[in-house]
C-alpha cells in the first residue's frame, strides 16, 4: 500500500494549544481534522508536513450553537454526517444539510468535517496523483514543478475548488471565525477563497478555523445542485448554489448564483443574480440566468468529464437549482 511519510503528531485539547504548536513549527505544520483529504495527499507526497496537529480532541470545535433566527454557529470539527443529520440545520438550512449529505461516501462523512470541506485543497487530475506519476510528467507548478499542465501557457495554477459547502457558504454570505497567536478574526466566506489553485485561501496557514456562522434564516431560501458521474464517492464537476429572497408575490428581491468546481474558487455570477431581481422565477428568467452563468463558466480539463460538456450543462443545472426555489 501507499505509505505515509514520517511526521510528528500532536493532539492538543484546546484551540489555543493547537495554534501555539502550529505557530512553533511555522510552515512545516498542518492541521488535520478528519484526515480524509490530508492523509491521502501525504501518501502521494502532495503535502509533506513534518508536524501534524490533530484537532479531534478539541471538543469546542464540535459544537453547534445559536438559533436559526439569529444565525447558527457550526464548529469546524462537526462531521459531515452530523451536519447532514442535525435537526436544526435540516430545518433552517436544508441546502447546507443536503450538500453535506452528497460529499464522498458515508464512511468518509463520518470522519470528514465541515471545516475540512471548506478549506479543502484545490484538486486537479495532474496534481492528485502519486509522486511517481507526477514525476512521469515532470510535475506541475502546484507541487515540485514549473508548469500548469491544464493550461501550459498560464502563469497561474488552475486546480479546482471542489468543495460542496464552499459555494453555499459564499451564496449564504456565511462568516468564518479563525484564531491564531495574533487573536481571532472573522473572514466572510466571500473573501476567503483566492483566485488561483495554489493560493486558494486568503487565510494564513497558522490560522485555525473555529466555526462557521450561518446568517439568520429569515426570508431567503437556498438550493444546491451537484453534478458528478456517480451518486456517491465523487467530487462535484459542477456545483450550483443559489440563494433568493422573494417578496410575498414571488418577485425576487435578492438573488445570488454561485458556481462551484469549475474555477479555482467558488464564483459568484453577479450578472445571473442581477437578471433575476425584480422578476418572478419564471422559466424565462431562470433560463436567462442559466445562460449567463454558462457563458461565464470556465471549466478546464482537470476533473472528470470533458470540460466542453461541463460548460454545456451549466445552464441546465443553474436552472434546476433556481427551479427548486420557486
Amino acid at each position: 500500500m501507499l505509505r505515509l511519510p514520517d511526521f510528528d503528531y500532536y493532539a492538543p485539547s484546546t484551540a489555543e494549544e493547537a495554534v501555539r504548536v502550529a505557530a512553533d513549527h511555522g510552515p512545516d505544520a498542518a492541521y488535520v481534522a478528519g484526515g480524509t483529504d490530508l492523509y491521502p495527499n501525504m501518501k502521494r507526497r502532495q503535502q509533506t508536513p513534518a508536524v501534524v496537529v490533530g484537532l479531534s480532541r478539541i471538543s469546542a470545535l464540535r459544537e453547534i450553537t445559536g438559533e436559526a433566527s439569529s444565525g447558527l454557529r457550526i464548529g469546524a470539527g462537526v462531521t459531515l454526517t452530523r451536519l447532514a443529520e442535525d435537526e436544526r440545520v435540516r430545518a433552517a438550512y436544508p441546502s447546507v444539510a443536503y450538500a453535506a449529505s452528497t460529499i464522498s461516501t458515508p464512511l468518509l462523512r463520518n470522519m470528514g468535517t465541515i471545516g475540512g470541506n471548506l478549506l479543502l485543497d484545490t484538486r486537479c487530475n495532474y496534481y492528485d496523483q502519486t509522486y511517481e506519476w507526477r514525476k512521469s510528467i515532470d510535475f506541475c507548478m502546484k507541487r515540485d514543478g514549473e508548469i500548469c499542465w491544464v493550461a501550459p501557457s498560464s502563469p497561474k495554477c488552475w486546480a479546482v475548488n471542489s468543495s460542496d459547502e464552499a459555494p453555499l457558504m459564499v451564496a449564504l454570505d456565511a462568516k468564518l471565525r479563525f484564531v491564531s497567536p495574533e487573536g481571532e478574526r472573522e473572514i466572510p466566506a466571500r473573501e476567503l477563497y483566492g483566485a488561483d489553485g495554489i493560493n486558494y485561501l486568503t487565510k494564513r496557514p497558522d490560522e485555525l478555523l473555529l466555526d462557521v456562522c450561518l446568517p439568520p434564516a429569515n426570508g431567503w431560501r437556498a438550493a444546491y445542485v451537484k453534478l458528478r458521474r456517480r451518486a456517491s464517492f465523487d467530487f462535484p464537476v459542477l456545483g450550483v448554489a443559489a440563494r433568493v429572497k422573494t417578496a410575498a408575490d414571488g418577485t425576487v428581491e435578492e438573488a445570488t448564483v454561485v458556481l462551484g468546481a469549475v474555477h479555482p474558487s467558488p464564483r459568484i455570477i453577479e450578472e445571473a443574480g442581477a437578471v433575476l431581481v425584480g422578476r418572478k422565477l419564471t422559466d424565462e428568467a431562470i433560463r436567462e440566468a442559466g445562460e449567463i452563468a454558462q457563458h461565464l463558466a470556465r471549466p478546464l480539463d482537470n476533473t472528470d468529464f470533458l470540460p466542453h460538456w461541463r460548460k454545456q450543462v451549466v445552464a441546465t443545472h443553474v436552472g434546476r437549482a433556481l427551479a427548486g426555489l420557486r
Partner: protein
Amino acid sequence: MGVSNGTPKDNGANGHGQTTEPVGRHPRGEGERSDSAVVGKPFVKVDSRSKVLGTMKFADDLTLPRMLHAKLLRSTEAHARIVSIDTTRAEALEGVYAVLTGRSMPITYGILPVSQDEHALCVDRVRYIGDPVAAVAAVDEETAEAACRAIDVVYERLTAIDSVKTALETPEPRIHDYGEEGNIHKRVDLEFGNVDEALASSHHVREDLFFYEGNTHLPLEQHASLAEWHPDGKVTLWSSTQTPHYVHRALAKVLELPPSRVRVVAIPNGGGFGGKSDIFNHEIVVAKLAMVTGRPVKICLTREEVFYCHRGRHPVLMRFRTGVDERGRILGMHSQTYIDGGAYGSYGVASTFYTGALQTVTYHVDRYKFDSVRCFTNKPPCGPKRGHGTPQPRFGLEVQIDKIAADLGLDPIEVRKQNLVEPHSMTANWLRVGSMGLGPCIDKVVEGSDWYSKFRKLPYGRGVGLACGSYLSGAGLPIYWNDMPHSGVQIKLDRSGGVAVFCGATDIGQGSDSVLAFIVADVLGIDPVDIRVVCGDTDLTPVDLGSYSSRVTLMMGNAAIEAAERARAPLAEAVSKKLSIPRSRLVFGGNRVFDAENPETGVTFAEAVQFAETSIGTIGSTGSYKPPRAPGRYKGAGVGPSPAYSYSAAVAEVDVDPETGLVAVERIWIAHDIGRSINPTLVMGQVEGSVYMGLGEALMEAMEYRGNRGVVHKFPSMLEYKSPTTMEMCDVVTYLIEDPDPNGPYGAKEVGQGPLLPIMPAVANAVFDAVGVRVDEVPISAEKVLKAILAKAEGKDGRYGPAKTPAVEWHEPHRVPPPWEGGDGRAIDDPKHMPVPLADPSGHRYKHDMSGD
C-alpha cells in the same frame, strides 16, 4: 434500490426433469441412482463463512518469520532505452537487503508460447509508464519505497506510440523486435466462403463502424505474492493468481530451476476477472529476491500498480459489413477489428482471434470473413478481461442487428430469432455448437420486461433495448501445446468418512472450491461439509489449467465426476460383499450406502470406506478431463472451440436526460442458458455480477491515457477510474434456462463471463429507443449522448462514433470453405485440404448437423 431477483429458477422449453434421460456427463449410479441431493440445490459456499467473517487469508494476509517486503521501481517513461541504472545509494540504505535489476533475470517469459516477450525487470528498454525497472527487498515497505526512490535511472527517450493509428503509421522504432512487421503484433485474415459474393447477392447490406474503449478488471484485492526459498534448493510462491500452473512453468524457466523444485500455491483471489491470469513481474521478482536474500519476501501492489498490471479489455475499433435477405437473415458478414494491444503480447494473439471467432455462434452466418490486426502501443498491456475479446465485436454485432431491423422495418426480436443457430450444429468457421438455449432466453426477457408494450412506445427519454451473447465453457485447447488432460482431480477417502479432494483449480470468488465439493458430495452421497478441498497447489494437486475461459465448472466438474465414480466403485464392491447385496441395488445417499429395495439395510459412508480399505487397502482415485477435438483444421482454428457454449439475452430499460445526455439504467432482465445449475445461487451471483460489470463498461469505465503527456495513464485510482457504485447498480431480474448440454457435468455450462456480453449493446439499443440517437461506442458517456442529441436537433446524423478506420494492408485471406460448402475444416491453401462432396448440394442453410463428426 437494490437487486431484486425474479423467478429464481426457471426451466426452459427443454427443461431437465427426472423423467427425461439424463443429459451431460452424469455419474453412473451403482444401481438406481437417487435424485441429486446436492447438485441443483442452493447449498452455501464452502468458504462463505470465512469470507463474511473476514477470516479468509488472502495473499497479503500471509506472513512468515524474518519476512522482507519488496517494492518495484517502475518506469516514468512510456518508451525509452535504459542508459544506466545506479543502485548504489539504494543499497547503502539501512534495512535494504537486496536490489535487483533486469540483468539478474535475462530470460523472457509470457503467458503464450508465441509471445515470450516479457522480462521480470526491464533489461534495456521500457515500454510503458509503470514497466518495472528495479526491485528492492527491505525490512519494511517504507524502507523499500525509499530505496526505490534512491535508484537513479537514466533514460534515452524514444518515440512513444499511443494508438493503433500511430502504431500503423510509425513502424520505427519498433516496440518489440518480433511480430508481423513494424509495430503490428498479429494479423489475422480468414474467409469462410465467398463473402463478397454473399454481400453482392444480399437484399440489404449495412456497413457500420464501432469503437470499444479499453477498461480494466478492478478487482478489490490488489495483487500480492509471498515467496520463500528453502535451504534444500526449493522455492515456494504463494500468490493471488488465477493460473498457478502457468506461473509454475514461467518461474521454473526464468529462475532456471527444475520445475520439480518450484511450488506455486494459488491463494483465494479477492476478485480476478482475468486480471490475475498472466505471469506477473512481481511474482518472479519476489521469488528471485527470496533466493538472493535467503529470507521470505512479500509484495502487495498499490492500486496504481494494479492499473499498470492491467491485461484488461483491449480497445477495439471495428468495421462490420453484413448482408441480409428480405427477412433479415444473415447471408454474409465481413468483420474487421483494429486492436490496441498495449506494450506486451500477453494473451493478445488469442484475444485477436477472439474478436472474430464467436461472431458465428448465436446467429447463423452463412459466409464469414474476418480480418484483424493487433498493434503494440506504449501503454500497459491488454489481455483477457471477462468475455476475453468477444464483448467488443458482440457490442457491434448486436447494435448492427438492431440497425438492420430498423432499416428493413422489421422487429429486432424476430430478426434475431430467425437467425438463431441450430442446436447441435456447426458454424461457418467450424465451431461445433451443442445445446443452444438462446431462443428461450429471448422469450423469457421479452415476456418478463413486457417488451412489446414498451419498445418504441415509451415517452421520450425512456427506452428499452435487447441484446444477446454467447460464451465458451472453456477453451478447447490449452495455452501450450500438449495432449494431456486440462483438468485433474484426485480423491482420498479416509476411515473417518472424511473425503479430501485435490484439484489445481483456483477459487477466484466464483465458487470453484464449492462446485468441486458439491459434485463429489453428490456422487458419493455425502454432505459437502464432510469434504476437504485442496486446490491450486502445484506440489499437492493435479494440474488444472486455471481459472480462465470459463472452463473450471465444466472441465474440473467432469474430472471430479470421474474421480468420484472411481472412488465409489471399491466401496460398492466391499459393501456388496459384506451385505450380500448386488452392486446394482446399492445407493449412495444421506451419508450412507444402502439397499435401494430395503433402505434400512445399509452402512454408513465411513463404514463403507473401512470395508473397502480392509479389503483392498488405501482408497484413492483420480479423474481427468480433456475437451473433445475440434473439427477446424485451419491456422487459427484453435481459438473458439469449446465443449459447450452458454447463451444469454438481456433487456435494459434506461432513462436518458436529454438536456445532459446522462444515462441511468433502471432495470435489466437477463436470461442465461446455463445448461444445468450445479448451484443456482452461485449461478445467479455470477449473472448479477456480470450485469454490474457490464453496466460499468456500458456507461463509464475507460482506461484513458494522455497521448500528449507522454502517454501517461489519465488517473490510475479507484476514485477517478469510474466504476459504478451501489447507487448506479440497477435492479436485475434473472432467469435461468436449463437445457442440459451433453458435454457438461450434469449438463452444466458456464456462467462466469457470458452474461456480461449482452449488457453493453442492450444499453446502447435502449438509449436509441429512448432518445433516437446512436452511440456506436463504449462507454456510452453523457458527452457522447448529448453530442448526438444536439447533432440530431440540428438536422445532422444523430450518431456518435468512429468515422473511419486506419489504412491496413490486409493479406490475402486463408480461405476455409464452411461445412456446407464442401469444407473439410482446412484452408484450401493447405496441402492436406480435401474437399468433401456434399450429400445435399442444395445445402439448405439450416440443415448442417455435423455433430456426428
